[in-house]
């Protein structure tokens, strides 16, 4: 998962972290920014002893949306627990308006609605899927944009399959998004799929591709904003490389 983002937040990895735990945390993504929390600089500390693995997470603002914050804390708990053996796992979200509710809710296995009684009408799976779909559309568009630069026409893309795509990080990422969503990811799968897995019709292609591009710009822009906010909040080096991540 280390190649997800080419320009990570400088100094994102705290000193002395075990490789296995770090790799586990690398599978945890900010659902909104579609990047691993390790690359984003959200992991501020990891402490291990014979009894317990403690991970501290931090976010760009005090008021980051509590639903996304909860997903990251819960995902971090699950990922680290799978590597922690018989040791206990404590995930501690720092400096957030809902830190107490989220930390206690995840530790107690209460779920989101149980952590915020009276304030939610369900769990977060639909929210997660909404953002996995956005990320998937943005990945598709990125891969398709390469083909257009190589001379493909927009109408022809309706017939393209993953076998036509250029091998590399972008295609690997697209395949991973497909797998998460239960969509076809083999060589013969259509390059451009709707959320329900059916191919995008040629008629809809121009506007769907265009909208996916806007989605990609939105995700990349938000990622840059959040990295910048994290850096000023915690006095980290400024993320100078962020603009280079944006592919035109």
């Amino acid at each position: 998962m280390t190649a997800e983002v080419t320009a990570g937040t400088p100094g994102a990895r705290p000193a002395g972290v075990d490789d296995g735990i770090w790799a586990a945390l690398g599978t945890v993504r900010d659902p909104e920014l579609d990047a691993p929390v390790t690359e984003l600089g959200f992991v501020s500390g990891v402490a291990e002893d014979a009894e317990v693995v403690t991970v501290e997470l931090r976010l760009p603002t005090y008021f980051c949306a509590p639903n996304f914050a909860y997903l990251m804390v819960a995902d971090a708990y699950d990922a680290v627990a799978a590597r922690a053996g018989s040791r206990a796992v404590v995930i501690r979200l720092l400096d957030h308006f809902a830190s107490d509710e989220i930390n206690a809710g995840v530790a107690g296995g209460r779920g989101f609605a149980g952590s915020f009684p009276g304030l939610a009408d369900g769990e977060l799976e639909q929210l997660r899927v909404t953002f996995q779909r956005k990320a998937h559309r943005a990945c598709q568009e990125q891969v398709a944009a390469r083909l257009l630069k190589d001379g493909w026409s927009v109408p022809d893309l309706a017939e393209a399959t993953l076998a036509d795509a250029l091998p590399g990080d972008e295609l690997d990422r697209l395949r991973r998004r497909r797998t998460e969503l239960g969509l076809p990811s083999g060589q013969s799968a259509a390059l451009l799929l709707q959320d329900d897995g059916s191919p995008i019709r040629q008629l809809d292609l121009p506007v769907q591709l265009r909208l996916a591009k806007t989605t990609r710009i939105s995700i990349e822009g938000n990622s840059g904003l959040c990295r910048g906010l994290l850096s000023v909040r915690y006095g980290l080096p400024r993320p100078d490389g962020v603009d280079q991540v944006i592919a035109g």
Partner: protein, 344 residues
């Protein structure tokens, strides 16, 4: 007015505040957290020589506001957008009354907007009527993430919200500014989703819905609904300062907006006092797309004049001197939103 290279620009700053976030007015840790969050936005996106101390940022004097906006800031008319936050601040963060006190001393400089909250029910409707009469309201600013007691927010499609929008129509309040925040009821949904704007914009075609921060962090959702709803506008508060720190991203935002909704529905704002207008206006007038972004609609002097002031002047009936206007364009814009779009 701002002048450069023989062109004169009429400036409307569509989103300014006169807030009080001093420690004495902070009711709890949330009030402290809220202003610190704003301050991080300020520090993150301002040029180094425009960064204030936290103390300066807590509250601005009337003299400073006038200087920053009008003496130094080229602004012809500024629109106060209140954000009450009475659960976070003892006397509120930025109320209509706070803004109005300053505006009354400078009647040719400010427009005062009000606010309402559907959770205030029947009593709030009466309050809105009073507020409209007292301040001659043409617009309101709504913050859907506002906390109130146990509630962490609301949606524009809540039944009481429709009652308030109906009252706005009756009172002649035609500009509805919408600011989405990180919380809402229910908390498990995406608080930044703008689907509720789509619904009310269809239900109230006589009202204008100005989505602040152009829907960020959901630019794509905003652009999509704005192509379908001709009465949906994009306010550039918070988007503007990217012009310094991340110019390519700024170019993409402007380019996307021009592509989807066109040059007539985008309005400039500094979001004062998070940022000051002078440098934003200077940079925007000088701004052009980077060479590798060649796919976007032209960012001409005429387009910049519309964005910097003429579009908002039209929404608020501000009289613009004849020499600062641009010829009325018929249907020259080629944006997607200028034509009906089929919804898949």
């Amino acid at each position: 007015m701002y002048s450069k290279d023989g062109n004169d620009y009429f400036i409307v700053d569509s989103h300014v505040h006169a807030w009080d976030a001093t420690p004495a007015n902070q009711a709890n840790r949330y009030g402290e957290g809220f202003i610190n969050c704003f301050y991080d936005y300020h520090r993150n996106l301002s040029p180094a020589d425009k960064v204030w101390t936290l103390e300066e940022f807590h509250k601005q004097s009337e003299e400073r506001i006038i200087k920053d906006l009008f003496t130094d800031g080229y602004v012809d008319r500024a629109i106060f957008q209140p954000t009450y936050l009475t659960d976070f601040y003892v006397n509120g963060f930025n109320t209509t009354e706070q803004d109005g006190q300053i505006a009354e001393k400078h009647p040719d400089k400010f427009i005062v907007n009000g606010s309402w909250d559907p959770r205030d029910g029947e009593a709030g409707l009466d309050k809105l009527t009073e507020l409209a009469e007292r301040w001659d309201l043409q617009g309101v600013k709504l913050y859907t993430a506002e906390w109130k007691g146990d509630s962490k927010g609301w949606k524009l499609t809540d039944p009481w919200s429709y009652r308030y929008l109906e009252r706005c129509e009756e009172l002649g309040i035609k500009n509805i500014h919408i600011h989405k925040g990180p919380t809402i009821y229910p908390l498990n949904r995406d608080a930044f989703d703008v689907a509720d704007v789509d619904d009310v914009a269809s239900a109230f075609p006589g009202l204008n819905f100005i989505v602040e921060h152009v829907g960020l962090p959901r630019l794509e959702d905003f652009c999509w609904i704005a192509t379908q709803e001709p009465n949906v506008y994009g306010g550039l508060a918070v988007a503007m300062p990217f012009i310094h720190s991340r110019p390519k991203y700024f170019a993409q935002i402007i380019g996307e907006l021009l592509y989807w909704i066109g040059e007539d529905r985008i309005t400039f704002a500094s979001d004062y006092a998070i940022w000051t207008p002078a440098w934003l206006i200077e940079r925007f007038v000088d701004f052009g797309y980077p060479a590798d972004l060649d796919e976007y609609p032209d960012l001409s002097v005429t387009v910049k004049k519309k964005i910097l002031g003429l579009n908002a002047a039209k929404l608020y009936g501000i009289d613009v001197p004849a020499e600062l206007r641009v010829p009325e364009s018929a249907d020259e814009t080629t944006a997607v939103g200028s034509e009906p779009v089929s919804v898949a």
